[in-house]
């Protein structure tokens, strides 16, 4: 098991290989479908001004060397107005494939946590910029929520609570490296092997 804390250096990322188990602590920002579209279209391809520029200025130092978590949590707000994570497993990552390579390349993200894996563009960005894809157990939502020590802030609630950026502090969040910074992907390997087995089973 490898301990990782944010901010993460490129050197630490380069040491990781597919199959390694990582225990992650520090600051993580959740981002899923609406947030990825926004990051690329408004921040990277647009000319952000006003609130958008402010949010970029706030999150850029957190994302540089930081971690994005593909997650739309169930959250609870207490009487004092403080948010808490109730259930927070990963969502399917492949939907962010059109965006993630840009996010890694331009914002300096070192790790992306999700489920199901991602494809060639993201894998190439991991190799080029020094990033990894970390796989959490899909559906293990109550268990993962207990690794969240604090909800530090939330941005873009107008996307809806599952789609907002949640800035959280986590401790000992266990994940498996399934795409590393050396061009290896467990997902590619299993897909190729299972297709081969399929052909054998159905006689193709």
């Amino acid at each position: 098991m490898t301990d990782l804390s944010t901010p993460i250096s490129e050197q630490d990322i380069r040491k990781l290989n597919v199959g390694d188990v990582v225990s992650l602590s520090g600051i993580v920002v959740t981002a899923r479908d609406a947030a990825h579209k926004y990051m690329v279209e408004t921040w990277l391809d647009g000319e952000p001004s006003g609130e958008d520029a402010d949010l970029l200025a706030t999150l850029k130092p957190v994302l540089d060397g930081g971690v994005i978590y593909h997650c739309g949590p169930v959250v609870r707000q207490d009487e004092a107005g403080k948010w808490h994570f109730v259930a927070a497993g990963p969502t399917t990552s492949i939907r962010e494939e059109p965006y993630e390579h840009r996010v890694i390349g331009s914002l300096g993200v070192r790790a992306v946590i999700g489920k199901g894996g991602m494809a060639d563009k993201t894998l190439a960005a991991c190799a080029e910029h020094g990033a990894v894809y970390l796989h959490a157990v899909g559906g293990a939502a109550t268990l993962i929520a207990q690794r969240v020590l604090e909800v530090e802030d939330v941005y873009k609630t107008e996307f809806g609570l599952p789609e907002a950026f949640w800035r959280i502090r986590i401790q000992d969040f266990q994940c498996v490296v399934t795409m590393d910074s050396h061009g290896n992907s467990l997902h590619k390997k299993i897909l190729a092997e299972s297709r081969e087995r399929y052909n054998g089973i159905v006689g193709l």
Binding site: G19, A34, C71, G72, P73, V74, V75, R76, V86, A87, A88, G89, T91, T92, I94, R95, K115, G116, G117, H135, V137, G138, G139, A140, A141, T142, L143, I144, A145, Q146, F159, G160, L161, P162, E163, V176, T178, L186, H187, I190, L191, E193, S194, R195, R197, Y198, I201, V202, L204
Partner: protein
């Protein structure tokens, strides 16, 4: 038939149970899957985490999975049971369950992108109402259908040239196993597969989804389909995809297949992929008593 007293409260309890507790047959299948995986493997570790999470969610009464999905209500009712107030009470319970965090606010306006915040929207939640001939029994079954697994559901039109799948059982087998290969780990396997062979596109999917309410251990009354269900499960587990697509022996927990008549021109095979968190619960109101199973 007399209406259920305190229906909203009972519907809320149905939602809470569905979101926080998995049916015993699914838990048993996951335990059997764990036992089949090699010690020290990623597959085994994943199923350990899955089972630990199931226990924790039941104890804390919090959602097993944060994607509490589309709430789909299947209602079987006597001829004289008034449906409008029944649906309204269930909608109120859905709102309340969202406030209590048993459900995530999941209803998103497809045009504006706005989340309604309370799981109420156009055709949301989903209701299927069917009159039956029992005079003094009402049944409400709730399925929470997660979006990640729903995205891996797929419909094939036979013949399929790429898979050399014709309009016969062999062709059906080929497309179902292809769906499992295509899904990989993205739908949070090990999966339960609900399948319909035949009918039109829309009804075929609806019939396929309803198969997911069947207990894993039941037997299909049609011996051909019973054999196919068993064969698909065994062969899917030979694909080596494993829990979460990490590799391993447990890819599918069970397969449930229905057949329906089709028009001569069409031959659809509809496959509804359900994640390991196959959440469904049943409320029965009979002889003045409410029970859940």
């Amino acid at each position: 038939m007399k209406t259920i007293p305190n229906l909203e409260m009972h519907a809320l309890e149905l939602i809470r149970l569905a979101s926080t507790r998995l049916p015993a047959d699914i838990v048993l299948a996951l335990e059997q899957g764990r036992a089949a995986e090699l010690a020290g493997s990623a597959a085994r570790a994943t199923l350990d985490t899955v089972l630990e999470n199931i226990t924790m969610a039941a104890e804390a009464s919090t959602p097993i999975c944060q994607d509490t999905g589309t709430p789909v209500f299947y209602i079987s009712h006597p001829w004289d049971y008034p449906l409008a107030p029944l649906r309204e009470a269930i909608r109120c319970a859905v709102r309340r369950a969202t406030e209590l965090n048993y459900l995530r606010p999941n209803a998103v306006d497809s045009i504006t992108g706005a989340n309604s915040g309370d799981n109420i929207g156009i055709h949301f939640p989903t209701f299927y109402c069917e009159q039956w001939d029992r005079e003094d029994e009402l049944r409400i079954e709730l399925m929470l259908k997660g979006g990640g697994s729903e995205n891996k559901s797929i419909q094939y039109s036979l013949p399929n040239a790429a898979l050399k799948a014709g309009r016969d059982i062999d062709g059906v087998r080929k497309v179902i196993l292809d769906a499992v290969v295509q899904a990989q780990g993205q739908g949070c396997g090990p999966a339960v597969l609900g399948i319909c062979i035949g009918n039109d596109r829309g009804s075929s999917y609806a019939i396929a989804k309803k198969q997911l309410l069947r207990p894993l251990t039941d037997r299909n009354p049609d011996p051909v389909l019973q054999e196919l269900e068993e064969e698909i499960t065994v062969k899917a587990n030979d694909l080596g995809i494993g829990p979460m697509g990490f590799g391993g022996r447990t890819t599918v927990l069970g397969t449930k297949i229905a057949a329906a008549h089709r028009v001569p021109a069409s031959f659809f095979v509809s496959i509804v992929y359900m994640c390991w968190a196959s959440r469904h619960k049943r409320l029965t109101f009979k002889a003045g008593e409410v029970s859940y199973d």
